[in-house]
Symmetry: C2
Subunit: 237 residues, 2 copies
């Protein structure tokens, strides 16, 4: 019988924001895959769950280089899937960990789909997402009453971002803000009386920082892992 | 010194989908508030964390009746806030638990804001949200590449729902689907070739059920706690 892959979201960075379910599966897995951007480099996801890994577990890096080239990305994901499939073929189960939630902008999503297409069984354990963690650190509701929430990647084109901002009616959680900070600043500056802005960077780490001042967007050293929460101001009821 | 309120999201229903942070705080709290819809009725949120409550903890219900009347809702929330403030005044810390994520459509959001306005300190621990849990149970990505995700409450007007559906480009996670199942069905039926539909009900409980057949929306007994994931089909790359 072939093994099963379990994808696990280990949360935004705080080692305490891992679920019991994640820990219980990680403790027992024979093989654990973790993402690295360079061979030999540290993995934030691995650090979070290190205390729960058994000495018997084989821990294997999956190279996940940043690249804007879709063909390169595709080739990389296929390679990752084959690395995992090799283990599943031996009948062993495996775990793949990912930062944040397992199915929100994660490499695991693609690996999961590829392995399913190859005929393998998968299982997923959700994790605390960056928007939920940012809202908690800021003590700010993501949604109230009948509002909606749009989660939007900061890595989309400036045009697409402005299009979404222009039609926002309630709340936007904007991920990877460093990638779009200048466009966001330009749009927000004249709308400060109408839109509440909050930013959380390096969530759950010792360097976590929170701000409600849009001028922070002018800082070129804004961390990549920053989440902005935008909320349309409403009249008091 | 006055006590602090910690709001805790205990996840969608599976007792294993609670975070370590939630458990560590719950174990030590002197006072724990939990939501009930009727005095004397069971609380799903309380059941999830029952194993972690110390014998010394005072466990207090907060009446949270369903009402569509905004004035009644406001009065109820004010009452809840005062109940909690009474404990904080004695210098004791307190915890308020809530299903799912702490700041996504939760009663805690309002109580938190009211207590802040009253001058109390609050702290929040995020939880696994219903969309993240639904995606994991279904093994379906919430977002891929540069897509966005709109989280939308099923309790809004049919008009507002259709407005959002009409302009959807990527993904929608629709909560409390039973409240809008007829309007959703009518809209989806002629668009089945263009929109992928998935539904998860009673997440994390023994009665959890999953479906990808839109005909399930015709069932008047569809559970209130159902999440629909809608995804615009895209061409293969």
């Amino acid at each position: 019988m072939k093994g099963i892959l379990t994808g696990i979201g280990v949360g935004p960075g705080d080692p305490e924001l891992v679920t019991l379910k994640a820990i219980n599966v990680i403790k027992k897995t024979e093989v654990l895959f973790y993402p690295v951007t360079k061979i030999g480099s540290q993995s934030a996801a691995l650090q979070i769950i290190e205390p729960w890994i058994s000495a018997e577990t084989r821990v294997i890096p999956l190279l996940s280089q940043m690249t804007s080239n879709p063909e390169e990305r595709k080739a990389q994901r296929l390679l990752q899937s084959h690395q995992i499939a090799e283990v599943l073929e031996t009948g062993k189960n495996a775990v793949m960990i990912t930062l944040g939630d397992a199915l929100l902008y994660s490499t695991y999503s693609y690996v999961m789909k590829t392995l399913q297409e190859m005929g393998y069984q998968v299982s997923t354990i959700p994790g605390i997402s960056a928007p939920s963690a940012a809202a908690a650190s800021l003590n700010l509701p993501l949604t109230e009453e009948d509002e909606g929430l749009l989660i939007w990647p900061g890595t989309e084109s400036e045009e697409a971002l402005i299009h979404q901002l222009e039609r926002m009616t309630d709340n936007i959680a904007l991920l990877k803000v460093s990638a779009c900070r200048e466009a966001l600043y330009k749009w927000l500056k004249p709308r400060q009386d109408r839109i509440c802005f909050s930013l959380a960077s390096r969530l759950g780490s010792k360097e976590e920082s929170l701000s409600q001042d849009i001028e922070i967007l002018k800082d070129p050293s804004l961390p990549y892992m920053s989440v902005a929460l935008l909320k349309v101001k409403k009249g008091k009821d």
